[in-house]
């Protein structure tokens, strides 16, 4: 199975390494050549330098054969647009886009883009953690 990861920051690189460990063929795209170092000393997958908005580059990175595309650059709107391009132009069923803004994540999720919103997850987890605190009741 082929996975294409666009944006090789902390999130993208870790997903790439994890999927590779699980047996996926992984290709990573990042604008910055230095991002390759996030994948460790001997990254066995492919690494393509360029911008994910570039359709030719996406083709070159094998998007047409991808079973899953993860869009995790540091720009919400860039992720939204690339996610839709992967879905609509290349017909990829499994496209997951990281969107930090909960409002935009909801809007695009309702329109059929699989969005993951770390902000929302953080809010839920932190709120839950506060609720779980054992605070000694103050006796009246």
């Amino acid at each position: 199975m082929n996975a294409l990861i666009i944006g090789c920051g902390r999130v993208g690189s870790t997903i790439a390494l994890q999927l590779h460990k699980e047996g996926w063929d992984v290709t990573v795209i990042d604008e910055n050549e230095d991002a390759l170092s996030r994948l460790g000393e001997n990254w066995p997958g492919s690494f393509v330098v360029g911008h994910g908005m570039d359709t030719d580059l996406l083709r070159q990175a094998g998007i047409e054969e991808a079973d899953a595309v993860v869009v995790s650059t540091d720009g919400d709107n860039t992720n939204i647009v690339i996610g839709q391009v992967a879905q609509k132009r290349f017909g990829i069923q499994c496209v997951i886009a990281r969107i930090l803004d909960p409002a935009r994540a909801d809007f695009y999720a309702a329109r059929g883009l699989r969005t993951v919103c770390p902000t929302k997850t953080a809010i839920d987890t932190l709120t839950e953690a506060v609720r779980a605190c054992e605070i000694p009741k103050v006796s009246a």
Binding site: M53, D54, T55, G75, D76, N77, T78, I80, V81, Q84, V85, K88, R89, D101, A103, R104, F107, R111
Partner: protein, 229 residues
């Protein structure tokens, strides 16, 4: 009775207060329209505020609360996405159109390579300074064979100009005798500075400038019939 004067006036929200956005805002205000300009950068916003006062707001126009503060839910008659970032412009247009029902959105394309993405997402009309300049430059090339004059995106048609020369197989033929591709028609023929509508009996000559309307993608077929290239 409604004031006919006020019926001609529109509410326009503009995202992006750079040179383009600010000049468009200024022009619309001069015509009496109601405008809200949104600018994210602090330094730019401060300068714009001196001139536009309450008509400029600071914020990221891809954030829903910023758009709502600018009155997107009224909704405005037109949303103009004029920032220097194409991804932002695409998201602004999608939000305006699909979430808030803004009847008309117009987007600026900064990098002509992104035009295909705007088209894919159904965002039209768009305006790209680079593409407009290139079309004009193309027009000036003395030995041009086929140039694009106008794209009718909604109609999925385009208008091109073709220069007939001595070696063209169409020179000396009538329009009705040409095997024009399906989805292409000749509109007019310009000769010695005078233009006439192309009909079946119109004779093509070397030096003619022919206007044609066609479906995008038929250029090569048309070129072959008229120019054998």
């Amino acid at each position: 009775m409604r004031d006919p004067e006020s019926e001609r006036l529109m509410y326009v929200v503009i995202a992006g207060g750079g040179k383009v956005g600010a000049n468009v805002a200024r022009s619309l205000l001069r015509l009496g329209h109601e405008v809200t300009l949104i600018e994210q950068r602090r330094d730019r916003f401060d300068r714009l505020e001196d001139e536009f006062e309450h008509q400029v707001q600071r914020g990221d126009a891809t954030e829903l609360f910023v758009l709502e503060r600018a009155g997107i839910a009224r909704p405005p008659d037109i949303m103009l996405a004029l920032t220097g970032d194409d991804e932002d412009n695409m998201v602004i247009c999608q939000l305006a159109k699909e979430r808030y029902g803004v009847p008309k959105v117009i987007a600026r394309v900064n990098d002509p390579r992104n035009q295909a993405h705007f088209d894919l997402l159904g965002l039209a009309p768009t305006i790209c300074a680079t593409s407009s300049i290139m079309a004009l430059v193309e027009h000036e090339v003395p030995e041009h064979d086929l140039i694009h004059l106008l794209e009718l995106r909604k109609e999925n048609l385009e208008i091109v100009e073709v220069q007939i020369d001595r070696d063209s197989p169409s020179a000396g033929k009538r329009v009705e005798g040409l095997k024009l591709p399906e989805g292409a028609r000749l509109i007019s023929v310009m000769r010695d500075g005078r233009s006439e509508i192309a009909v079946g009996s119109t004779m093509l000559e070397a030096g003619d400038q022919v206007l044609a309307i066609l479906e995008p993608g038929k250029e090569d077929e048309l070129r072959r019939v008229l120019l054998r290239r």
